[in-house]
Amino acid sequence: MFWKFTRFEWKMVYINRKSWLLAIFLLLFFLLYFIYYSQEEQMSLQDQKRNEYQTSYAVFYHLDSGRHAIPEVAEVYERHTEIQSLLGMQVWNIGGGSDPEQYVEDGLEINQLRLEVHDLGNSGIPDHLIVPREDILKEDALLHYIRDNDLPIESDSFMTNHYITNGLAMMSGLLFLIILLISGNEILVYERKHHSVLKGVPITFIKKITSKVFVHSLFIFTFLILGIAIGYSYLSRNVEGGGFQFPVLMYQNDTYVAISTIQYLAYLFIGFGVVTILILLLSVLMNMMFRHAFANVLIGLGIFILPDIVRAAGFEARFLHPIKYIDINKVLSGELAAELNNPAIDFWNAMITLGIVSLVLIVIIYAWNKYTYLQVPKNNPLTKAF
């Protein structure tokens, strides 16, 4: 019965023009984004290092004046000299020198020296020139990953990563939420337009809901993956990059770990999956409550921006933080943990929380439906909505 109803529900999605608009959007989004992004000049690794070299050089002007009088500054000066020299070597090794292994080794040494400079209190270095400890740890994680996996780093090795992660970052959060809310806005309500056809169909409410959530999730995911595939095929033809084996940083347990792009994508899709189920369940509940398609979108968006409104009003409501977990890219990158000043927010934490919220939604939907059978009519007879 479940699969028969699912087949029908799939047909409902298939004949709905709204679904096809969403499908076209998902199919073209990454392609158009990558085309747009590729028009902008991307900075190669060599150029980045060259900039870093010049910025770092400015530190000497500040250290030079104090290094004779203050011993800590002298120590910092000594390490910074080494850093500067190694940065110069990195620019050469990633460019004309073509020695990627040495580039990585030099990078790791730079990180070590920078951490020592931090331990010395960054004496003599103005705040705007201090490399944050967080950035050092991120760079260290990336370089360790490249060395441990013996990856052949080149000047444009991170290009693919940049495209993919930036594209998915655009999709994650508000945009993905809107897509899901629009997809699910009539998930149950449409039956009211066809109530005499569907009301008496002998299937339990929970089976019906499961079928609907399954079909909508499958639809969204199919076109999301197809969209990424189309975008990637464009990238692979037009952009020189390191492919999916190059690392991306992931925030975990209050630190950053480097994982391959393919792993990052896997985590992201798990996250998208959990968010999809949660938002569709929320849509079911809102359909039951308000019986109105637009209410689903408006209230859904309202819930998403609620933590921002509360924060703007000067309140720190940590219990609202899980609402923001639906921006999986921000969770994975650690951006959300920094933004909400809550280091506990990492991928698995977010997944467990969103999973629990989904279970709570299922319990509410189940209980609501159960209640309709226990209700005793008083002044008016009771009409079954779904």
């Binding site: 028969k4 029908f8 056809v197 008496g200 059978y373 008016n380 007879p381």
Partner: protein, 306 residues
């Protein structure tokens, strides 16, 4: 097979059904007759549990009631309702609608056989948005035929159908009855109900006010179409039997049940001659009962009747 006990549906300012009870058995066609807004659809909604009444129970096969979702599914597995034309999916074809019902009710009936029987081959594979009213109505009936449940509720099943299709569906209804199905049919095609209904129930003021049985067809009446003035005159001249009916200010019906052949002849010759009217003899049909109960019922006189 199906039992309704003391069903009451009451809104703040209106009582739609009041203490209504009914027992129906398999292999029966029950016609339901009443003007619009009298509670036919409400009654069907209660039977299908689309509406929970203020009071009363619906019992299916002596044990199942709409107390839990499990029991509701068990009942719905054996009960289907006729869809409304307006609720069909415009972008789906007729076949897809029929398959939905055949699938959801695990029916053994072949969709193709049904649409061929109902002569829908010419359009059934096209999208519903291209259908005329009559085509849509046939599709609604075809869907129900695909579900093939032991109990079927049909509200205005003949709505929008031409004469040929009314005959076609009437034939199919009779076959369904032969298959042992319990069919409830609410219809305004009153004379059509006479063809296949075992019982016709007349709903008024929240309850059944009359039950017309197929067995009652042996009860014949001498029928004469006369105006109220002619009726007054006739009443003065002749001593009309106590159980005669004067329906809707135009139809005089004199029961023949307790009359001898001579008495019958006497009435037919005298009354017809005096009024110079055509006299017919036969049982009262659904149309006549309908007029009796709903049209001009304020003036209707039931002398010694019910």
């Amino acid at each position: 097979m199906l039992k309704l006990e003391s069903i009451t549906v009451r809104y703040k300012d209106k009582t739609v059904l009041e203490n209504l009870s009914l027992t129906a058995t398999a292999g029966e066609i029950i016609g339901l007759v009443a003007p619009n807004g009298t509670g036919k659809t409400t009654l069907f909604n209660v039977i299908a549990n689309f509406l929970k009444p203020n009071k009363g129970n619906v019992t299916f096969r002596e044990k199942l009631q709409y107390k839990t979702e499990k029991q509701e599914i068990a009942i719905h597995n054996q009960l289907a309702t006729l869809p409304d034309q307006a609720d069909l999916f415009e972008e789906l074809s007729g076949v897809e609608h029929m398959k939905l019902y055949a699938d959801m009710w695990n029916s053994d009936k072949k969709v193709e056989d049904i649409y061929k029987y109902l002569q829908m081959e010419g359009y059934v594979k096209k999208k519903v948005k291209t259908y005329s009213l009559g085509m849509r109505q046939r599709l609604c009936f075809a869907m129900l035929a695909c579900a093939d449940t032991p109990v079927m509720l049909m509200d205005e099943v003949m709505n929008g159908l031409d004469v040929a299709n009314v005959a076609l569906i009437s034939r199919r209804l009779a076959e369904m009855k032969e298959e042992g199905k319990l069919l409830f049919i609410a219809s305004h095609l009153l004379s059509n109900l006479d063809l296949y209904a075992d019982r016709v129930l007349y709903l008024k003021d929240g309850d059944f006010i009359h039950e017309q049985n197929a067995q009652n067809k042996n009860e014949k009446y001498i029928k004469l179409d006369i105006s109220p003035e002619e009726y007054e005159k006739l009443s003065l001249v002749y001593s009309l039997p106590e159980d005669h009916l004067y329906i809707a200010d135009h139809l005089l019906c004199i029961p023949t049940v307790n009359m001898s052949k001579e008495e019958q002849l006497h009435w037919m010759l005298n009354v017809a001659n005096d009024e110079n009217k055509e006299v017919t003899i036969g049982p009262l049909g659904t149309l006549e009962f309908y007029e009796h109960y709903y049209h001009g019922d304020a003036k209707a006189k039931i002398l010694g009747g019910e």
